[in-house]
Symmetry: C2
């Protein structure tokens, strides 16, 4: 039985909060505490987690390390993933310098750009490679995840190449929708879309 996307989408948020609780030195939590911290209902959290088994006992709550490890396994982030960054402009550089990726299991191991001014420069200890080498490098390193930080007008073409080179997950920072085969997933990072989801509610 396949689990609804909307449930899967909440699991990383639970995981982030559990890691935070652990960092604060706590070892046990409850659906009520998580709900309060995440601004949602405890019934929702219990229902979401029930898709994956029994994690807590009635009245005693969840052992944080146990639940955290389970979520990491479910999300397949108990391991490290190598990630390719495409685009070494302002945004690409900010992404490459963001320690959050490595700290949470996603290691940027190669950076590509098509501009001769950027190829050969070093960003976050990685030498920027020509996008001509995209397919060869991704296959060689067996990389499945790509971060796309290039202008919108080139995003689809590069996406087609990423898909052919074996990438199955794309985090797209370009403000444009991407067409991909059903076997490939895309998530979007478009701040303006996020802002417009809020202005609707402004009085």
């Amino acid at each position: 039985m396949s689990i609804p996307t909307i449930v899967i989408n909440r699991l990383p948020v639970y995981l982030r909060e559990l890691l935070r609780l652990e960092a604060e030195g706590q070892s046990v939590t409850s659906s009520q505490e998580l709900a309060r911290r995440l601004g949602m209902s405890s019934a929702q959290i219990r229902k979401d987690l029930s898709h994956f088994g029994e994690f807590g006992k009635q009245g005693t709550g969840y052992r944080i390390d146990f639940l955290r490890q389970h979520l990491q396994k479910i999300l397949k982030v108990e391991r490290e993933w190598d990630v390719a960054l495409i685009g070494a402009g302002d945004l690409g550089q900010a992404i490459a310098h963001n320690n959050s990726f490595a700290a949470r299991g996603f290691r940027i191991t190669c950076i590509f750009d098509s501009s001769s001014a950027r190829i050969g420069t070093t960003i976050a200890k990685l030498v920027v490679q020509s996008t001509d080498l995209l397919e060869v490098t991704l296959r060689e390193k067996n990389i499945r995840i790509g971060l796309l930080a290039i202008p919108a007008e080139h995003a689809q073409k590069v996406t087609d190449r990423l898909v052919k080179a074996g990438i199955v997950s794309i985090l797209n920072y370009a403000p444009v929708n991407l067409s991909v085969p059903e076997t490939v997933r895309v998530q979007y990072m478009d701040p303006v879309i996020q802002l417009q989801r809020m202005t609707y509610y402004h009085l």
Copy 2:
């Protein structure tokens, strides 16, 4: 009758695609064409839009400029919004230099930071102000929207101050959940959360 959040969340994506079609010189489109370009069903698009009135005629499709203007009105982005940026580190600087905000109706008009090394420096033609001036400046400029690009450990405290100063929409780049009153909305920009929403599906 209130419209489901999930519908509202899709409207900016429709708007972005309509702007793209216009930029490509097209003046008419259809739910089928939009669906194909966005990788969703045309029935979904028609149903979403039907919440807001009749936009196309059976068989003749949508006039793009008409539908685009309507969506802009619905989302309250037919006007420009002034936005405050909090955080002038690597990420804040990349945000300040991202032309996408201004091009799509969100003008960053002030930048705040708490580090004395950054206060007084100029980023994207704006002088970085001390966070001590947060409340005064936001009230004076009547700013309702904040971009939060500061470390996770300070995000809640600054959020509480933003809310008190009249901010009702927060785009949070810090990898942490924020607690806000019901009258305030938060959207999140956490790339690792987005990646973990995809690794679940990896074989």
